[in-house]
């Protein structure tokens, strides 16, 4: 019996290890190669929690890698992270295996990347949504507040309209954030400023799903928060909360209100939910351009690349199937604000 116990414990331990590996680093990698005269660089991507199929941030980064693989004939690799404890392993693994550039997709990897980029001074690193102060790390940041400002204008004006999904009687709009912190506060600050600019007496209900990275992956909580905001009169809710936002889309469908998506044009990804527009963040372009510049030999080193409306790193998705419900004045105001932001007339706050 004793022997059997030992065997079982060993089997369990092995199972644990195997499964942890399974969750932590599902392997990707692509066809890529074969393109005549392709560069010999090997781009590597470490995706954040949520991973592939998040219909947002991570998928966008992955699309950038795929495009680069195709166009430059390079062979890349990506690793998914299921928990913050995976970041360091994944980054080290790619750097050790000679991948270059290694791109960390997500601000949660800031601390790990700071350490690891010092251990691999020859590797070009890049991080999305954060600034890492090492000489071989490129920072790919966005001015999300600019797109959020436009979303705020849409929300502030549309909540005063009578449509299939909004009523003019209550001037209340909602914001659903993921994890509390400076990144999502950029979205919130821009959104609130946008609402304020067109509807000073509108109320913006703000709620974050939590204070840990899991707050980006809890659609149940996203739905509850949305339902509460709807019960308080919100008829448009903008989210910057990753997978948590799918709960908003569920609530929007159920209660017939408008949702505003984030990162990708989510109306196309959730066709059965009333998603009026989305604040699109071109993480794919940032990833693609980073691979591009490394493949051309121009080492980008430690620069910070800041993308906003002007650089087309941030944009507001078309209204799509709801286009005829959006009055022309609303569209004009959005266009004016976009120009104002691009030529510097409008300063959008990037923090609360």
């Amino acid at each position: 019996m004793r022997k059997r116990l030992g065997f079982v414990s060993l089997a369990m331990a092995l199972a644990l290890v195997a499964l942890a590996g399974c969750g932590g680093g599902s392997q990707g990698g692509g066809e890529g190669g074969g393109g005549g005269g392709g560069s010999d660089i090997r781009p590597g991507l470490v995706l954040d929690i949520g991973g592939l199929g998040d219909q947002g941030f991570n998928d966008s980064a992955y699309a950038g890698l795929k495009r680069a693989e195709k166009e430059f004939g390079v062979e890349g690799e990506y690793l998914e992270s299921t928990a913050p404890t995976d970041y360091a392993d994944n980054l080290t693994q790619l750097a050790e295996s000679g991948f270059n550039p290694v791109i960390a997709v997500g601000f949660l990897m800031t601390d790990d990347l700071t350490e690891i980029s010092e251990q691999f001074p020859e590797t070009q690193f890049a991080i999305v949504d954060s600034v890492v102060e090492t000489p071989n790390t490129m920072d790919l940041v966005f001015r999300e507040q600019e797109g959020s400002y436009l979303a705020g204008i849409v929300a502030g004006l549309m909540t005063q309209e009578d449509t299939e999904y909004t009523t003019s009687d209550e001037k209340v709009v909602g914001f659903l954030g993921g994890q509390t912190g400076p990144l999502i506060e950029k979205f919130q600050a821009g959104y609130e400023a946008g609402v304020e600019s067109v509807c000073p007496d509108c109320e913006v209900l703000v709620k974050y799903a939590g204070s840990t990275p899991e707050a980006f992956n809890d659609p149940g909580e996203g739905k509850e928060i949305s339902l509460q905001q709807i019960s308080q009169g919100a008829d448009i809710i903008y989210h910057a909360s990753g997978n948590t936002g799918t709960g908003l889309f569920d609530a929007a469908k159920q209660e017939k209100i408008f949702a505003i998506g984030v990162d990708l044009d989510q109306a196309k990804l959730f066709p059965d939910s009333p998603i009026l527009t989305s604040v699109v963040k071109r993480v794919d372009n940032a990833v693609y351009q980073t691979i591009d510049s490394v493949s051309k030999g121009g080492q980008p080193k430690g620069t910070t690349v800041d993308r906003g409306l002007k650089e087309k790193g941030i944009s507001l998705a078309p209204f799509g199937r709801f286009d005829d419900q959006v009055p022309q004045e609303v569209k004009d105001q959005v266009d004016q604000a976009r120009e104002g932001i691009i030529n510097g007339d409008i300063k959008v706050p990037d923090a609360l």
Partner: protein
């Protein structure tokens, strides 16, 4: 304050929705722990069932068939836990953790295998809210209690049923005996291993209802790791409720209410970190013996070997 009362209706509705998966999982944990097997794998059992339910509903087009596949999956993985801990006498915490990791990695892998990509599954037809006539028009409590998914109504029925089964039937007596003094019930002719299989198996079935409620009642799609710690909060509710179905349900409602309040109060009013720790703080208080001690079944966590 007037604002708060206007919000009370939606808060109570939200409370019931938040509490439902916790109650199911806590009742499941109760059967397992009362039989003497710690089931830290509730989280994983819920996750697997949430996934299996969506797959079943997606393939068949029927939410009820989805519920069936959810229960089957929950039972299957609970029996793996029973096999490990009862038959092979493996450490119950390690086995439970393995179930949790298996659920996380396995559902992530199967998402890609079945639906082509990870993240969020396609939408399915879940269990819509069904308002019970008359009862649902009671002010305040009516919509909260009687305008919900049928899985919520099932939960109402199960709490007293579980109470009756555990405390007023021969089966319940044997189950509790197995968790308190396995030698004694063994001497009395009860098959300890079989009782523990029943206990753990039932925990899988009940956790499955909780998981199915998440992916098919509250929401209508599966998202990777969507249980987000609810299995552990359910365990906390079980302990806080002193391994009693009524107490556990009350604790789950309390946790659900705390969450619902944070969803609706102003962001700055209560720091979100504070709310997140409420279930665990209350559990520590319960375990520390304030307001009467929370005493676990005596033989919990110990494999029983027939002499």
């Amino acid at each position: 304050m007037e604002d708060f009362f206007g919000l009370l209706g939606p808060i109570l509705q939200s409370t019931v929705r938040n509490a439902t998966p916790l109650v199911f999982a806590a009742l499941g944990g109760l059967f397992s722990e009362r039989s003497g097997v710690v089931n830290i794998g509730l989280e994983g059992l819920m996750l697997i069932s949430a996934f299996a339910g969506v797959v079943g509903a997606n393939l068949s087009g029927s939410a009820f068939i989805g519920l069936g596949t959810a229960v089957a999956a929950g039972l299957l993985f609970a029996l793996i836990h029973a096999l490990m801990t009862v038959t092979f006498e493996a450490d119950q915490i390690i086995s439970g953790t393995a179930i949790n990791l298996l659920a996380l990695g396995g559902t992530g892998f199967l998402m890609v295998a079945i639906f082509g990509s990870g993240g969020t599954s396609p939408r399915i037809e879940g269990f819509e809210s069904v308002a019970i006539p008359v009862l649902s028009s009671i002010p305040l409590l009516g919509p909260a209690l009687f305008d919900q998914s049928i899985l919520v109504y099932l939960m109402y029925v199960l709490v007293p049923v579980v109470f009756f089964v555990v405390f007023h039937t021969p089966f319940g007596l044997r189950l509790r005996g197995t968790g308190e003094a396995p030698e004694a019930v063994d001497t009395a002719g009860v098959n300890v291993a079989r009782m523990r299989y029943y206990g753990v198996g039932l925990s899988g079935v009940l956790a499955a209802f909780g998981g199915a409620y998440l992916s098919m009642g509250l929401l209508s799609a599966f998202t990777e790791n969507m249980t987000a710690g609810r299995g552990f909060i359910a365990l906390a509710a079980l302990i806080f409720g002193r391994w009693n179905p009524i107490g556990a349900a009350g604790a789950a409602l309390l946790f659900g209410f705390a969450q619902a309040v944070t969803y609706s109060v102003n962001e700055q009013a209560i720091p979100i970190e504070f709310i997140e720790m409420i279930p665990y703080v209350l559990t520590i208080i319960a375990l520390a013996g304030l307001g009467g001690r929370a005493i676990a079944p005596a033989a919990i966590g110990k494999p029983y070997r027939k002499e």
